[in-house]
């Protein structure tokens, strides 16, 4: 069943998003699995405490044993007993460019993941389904790399000063003009780290007496930025427009909690693509609400810039909307441009204000010149200004890969979350043992995948997450799909009953919760 668009007219194309319900048996078994692990955890802790089992944790210094303990025992329970068992699925070291195929350093553990040793062998040509390389710009040869090499030999690697002091190079100004042109906004500003772009600019925009409405599943950087600003934070259910509208109405009608004074401003924080769910924000409805209730919209396009839209301009182009409707367009250069850093685009007054009052402009070192050059070259390539059609071809290739991959996985019977057009594909695993098993089995078959569990996801909804890339050829995708099919049968992962619950039928409950800084 396709989701029926009820705000007909706002959406110019079908919006197909689905989150299949967890089968009851699977949920029960998952809880049982975690229960068993917890019991064993207590048993092992008991044995470690009574010295029956050797304790391999690092410990406090002898001279400082009578200090207040640095960590609570309970904080690390999950770390010691659950995370440690499957620790080899993460932090896998690689030693080549993170393109469609990657070389990994082999590591083994002889004491159940407490320590790793490198055998010195390199596992070559692993199909990389974990790196955020949407348009395939993670390359070590070609126009982008040559341009970056030239700038590196001319400018050096570092800058050693902040933007407001002596760190504003002509390269940075060139980049900012280009980003503004790419997004279709008046002006833009670039920063050295995507995480820091959020955590340092949201406090500059809102403060005490303002209200932030943030999506349930927002990224840690948005949450940190909202907390540091000192504004009141209220959370609405993920991508749920009725929840958002209710919060907006309540906020304007009732005002601030104790004093009943009206709010100074309301800022809505949403992301373009949510990286754990694979869902796309309902931007037309959000913009309609924002206009009706006179609030401001902060759109974090970390994963969607370059990956959505017919020419890669992001989620605004995907829905055919006007970029001027979004007050603050934020994004990162790490994913689709193969570089590092973040940007904010918007009206000239906004950017002038940020140039003066952003924490990053005053206290943080500016971007490294070769990284800036990589962004400039890749952005020009996407826009077609380098004289080739390579950029457009890549954007189309990514869209095709996305559709093909998702369709095939659904046909095989896996539960896949998210929107049909999102290049982030979460495949549900649920049970804790399968998290480790899936990662290891896929690696044996030379495919690198990313698995995530608690606390990045709710406790029973652990998943494997595939990130598609324009650099993946059809052969690579077919190989990967074949192996996923095999492993899916081996681990019994094909939970889907092809019963998609339309999102409108999900009951909307009245609970809203807020967080205040007192």
């Amino acid at each position: 069943i396709n989701h029926i668009v009820h705000n007909g007219g706002l959406y110019k194309r079908p919006f197909n998003e689905a989150f299949e319900e967890t089968p009851m048996l699977v949920a029960v078994l998952t809880y049982v699995g975690y229960g068993v692990l917890t019991l064993f955890g207590y048993l092992r802790d008991f044995m470690r405490q009574w010295k029956i089992e050797k304790c391999q944790n690092a410990t406090e210094r002898e001279e400082q044993k009578d200090f207040v303990p640095l960590y609570q025992d309970f904080e690390n329970f999950y770390n010691r007993n659950l995370y440690m068992r499957i620790r080899d699925s993460w932090n896998r070291p690689i030693c080549s460019v993170p393109g469609a195929k990657v070389d990994m350093m082999e590591r083994v553990s002889h004491d159940y993941n407490w320590t790793f040793t490198y055998t010195g062998r390199v596992i070559k040509d692993i199909i990389n389904m974990g790196s955020y390389n949407y348009l395939g710009f993670a390359q070590n040869a070609g126009t982008c790399q040559e341009a970056a090499a030239k700038v590196l030999s001319q400018y050096g690697a570092g800058v050693c000063s902040t933007r407001q002091e002596m760190g504003n190079l002509d390269k940075h100004e060139e980049l900012e003009k280009l980003v503004a042109r790419f997004l279709g906004v008046e002006s833009a500003m670039a920063y050295g780290m995507g995480f820091a772009t959020n955590s340092m600019n949201i406090p500059a925009l809102v403060g005490k007496g303002c209200l932030i409405l943030s999506d349930e599943l927002n990224h840690a950087s948005l949450v940190l930025g909202a907390r540091l600003s000192g504004a009141t934070i209220r959370i609405f259910k993920h991508n749920n427009m009725q929840s958002l509208e209710k919060l907006l109405k309540d906020a304007i009608v009732h005002g601030q909690p104790r004093t009943r004074r009206p709010w100074k401003k309301i800022l809505i924080l949403v992301e373009g693509i949510y990286s754990m769910e694979g869902s796309i924000v309902r931007l037309p409805e959000v913009i309609a609400l924002k206009k009706k209730y006179k609030s401001y919209l902060y759109l974090d396009e970390a994963h969607s810039i370059g990956a959505l839209g017919p020419t890669g301009r992001g989620v605004v182009e995907y829905f055919g909307l006007n970029p001027e409707d979004v007050d603050v367009m934020m994004g990162t250069f790490t994913k689709s441009f193969g570089a590092a850093g973040g940007y904010i685009g918007g009206k000239k007054e906004l950017i002038d204000y940020l140039r003066t009052y952003s924490h990053s402009a005053v206290y943080a070192t500016s971007m490294s010149p070769p990284v800036v050059e990589q962004i400039i070259t890749s952005m020009k390539c996407i826009m077609g200004e380098d004289g080739t059609t390579v950029g457009k071809a890549r954007v189309q290739q990514l869209a095709e890969n996305t559709r093909y991959f998702r369709r095939r996985l659904k046909e095989m019977g896996f539960i896949i979350y998210g929107n049909e057009d999102s290049p982030v594909v979460p495949l549900m695993l649920y049970m804790p043992a399968k998290i480790g098993a899936f990662g290891r089995e896929m690696l044996k078959r030379n495919i690198g995948v990313v698995v995530v569990g608690f606390p990045a996801t709710p406790i029973i909804e652990s998943r494997a997450r595939f990130c598609l890339s324009a650099a993946h050829t059809k052969e690579m995708l077919d190989t990967a799909l074949k192996e996923i099919n095999e492993v899916g049968d081996l681990l019994q992962l094909k939970y889907s009953r092809h019963r998609l619950v339309p999102l409108l039928d999900r009951p909307f409950d009245e609970t809203t919760y807020e967080e205040t800084e007192d």
Partner: protein, 420 residues
């Protein structure tokens, strides 16, 4: 319902941002064309660079650049992922090992942004209910880390150990009232090795004594002192001859002496390993581009091979510190061996705005004479203890004695013409 509709109609929000006047001093950036090295072209004029924190002159070192080029050819530019998801490269592991070996600690951890290093490290250990004693002159990154941690902050006067001891004693008497709570409340002291805002060092030996007397852990921020103080550039612990295991956590950024980007924390594995799962800037952000990590490794190699550059740097700092004494109207703020000094007005002319304008005229005069300087920038409304407006003077190992003397005499002239 009618009333609600009316309220919604009537409510008018503030504009998203207030307008910024065109002549705001922080709005018009200096534009540097070309690399920000020893000879720098600012706003079209060629000057000697006294404003970039390029202490060891490694920004245009050929060996560093070729190491970065080799890394660029092998890995490309970006890492396309956080450390947990295929973003860990062998260069990162190598850099962490090298830093730990250089600083003689067990382990080191790298961040991709200097500001985020201490701002993520503090909230990983200090939570709501814990107590942190921090110096008044702590830099903004420390302040943001403390704000994110939601702990109780107690400020003590800059470098005043008596004030700190008073606060610690007060805390001790508080503890007696509620022993159960005191047993789980963690305590930390956060200080900088060489303070960015005042240019002086913290009295580390006394701090160590206080640490063991009152059972408080020390977090040391060494962004300016790493690669500057100490016989081999290991920072303030080498400068004072203190056992590095006595400091719980050392955090520094690689953007000053190492002329790269990013930051690192080093210490015992017991402490550092915790950040790999709870350091926000580490777990939720893409890792450092490999070419910058390779540049940092090469810079470390140079530091280890030429330990005499630190002496040379300190001698130059002493020289210019002496030369800048006695300028009428300006006073020098900072230790004689600190490579980042401040020049403040001896007498303020009433308002901060006017002071800033006056200092700008001094800076412009020097720029016209061929010495690039800058004012120290702060966010006036956000800082806890806002320092007075000042001109930042940075000494690097590449500046010759003639250039140092020229800078000193130009500043004297500027002060004469502008301030009298």
């Amino acid at each position: 319902v009618q009333e609600k509709e009316e309220l919604i109609e009537e409510w008018q929000p503030e504009p998203l941002v207030p307008p910024v006047p065109k002549d705001h001093p922080a709005l018009n950036y200096n534009v540097v064309s070309g690399p920000p090295t020893h000879v720098i072209t600012v706003n079209g004029k060629e000057c000697i660079n006294f404003a970039s924190f390029n202490f060891l002159g490694l920004l245009d070192n050929e060996k560093v650049k070729s190491a970065a080029q080799a890394s660029l050819k092998k890995y490309g530019v970006g890492t396309c992922g956080p450390r947990g998801f295929y973003g860990t490269f062998d260069v990162h592991l190598e850099l962490e090992e090298r830093l730990a070996k250089f600083m003689r600690t067990e382990e080191a951890i790298i961040y991709s942004y200097g500001f985020a290093t201490i701002a993520s490290a503090i909230p990983a250990y200090s939570k709501r209910g814990d107590i942190v004693f921090v110096d008044e002159a702590a830099c903004f990154a420390i302040q943001k880390g403390l704000q994110a941690s939601r702990s109780n902050i107690k400020l003590f006067k800059h470098n005043d150990m008596a004030d700190l001891e008073r606060l610690l004693k007060e805390q001790e008497t508080e503890d007696q009232k509620n022993l159960r709570k005191a047993r789980v409340t963690r305590r930390f002291i956060v200080v900088e090795g060489l303070y960015m805002n005042t240019g002086d060092v913290c009295p580390l030996p006394e701090l160590i004594k206080l640490k063991y007397k009152y059972k408080v852990r020390i977090f040391l921020e060494e962004s300016l002192s790493f690669g500057v103080l100490g016989e081999h550039g290991r920072g303030i612990t080498e400068h004072f001859g203190i056992n590095i295991d006595d400091i719980d956590l050392i955090s520094a950024n690689m953007e000053n002496s190492l002329a790269s980007i990013g930051g690192f924390c080093c210490g015992r594995s017991f402490i550092i390993d915790h950040q790999r799962l709870s350091g926000q800037g580490y777990c939720f952000s893409a890792s450092l581009p490999p070419l910058l990590a390779a540049a940092a490794i090469e810079a470390l190699n140079i530091m280890e091979d030429n330990p005499d550059i630190f002496q040379t740097l300190r001698a130059k700092c002493k020289r210019i510190h002496k030369a800048l004494q006695g300028i009428s109207g300006l006073k020098v703020v900072g230790e004689s061996f600190s490579p980042a000094l401040h020049l403040q007005l001896e007498e303020s002319c009433g308002s901060r705005e006017n002071d800033v304008k006056l200092l700008k005229r001094v800076v412009d005069y020097c720029m016209n004479g061929g010495i690039a300087l800058t004012q120290a920038r702060y966010l006036e409304k956000e800082e806890k203890c806002l320092p007075a407006p000042s001109i930042r003077v940075v000494i690097t190992v590449e500046q010759t004695e003639q250039e140092l003397d020229k800078a000193a005499s130009l500043l004297k002239e500027a002060a004469q013409s502008v301030l009298n």
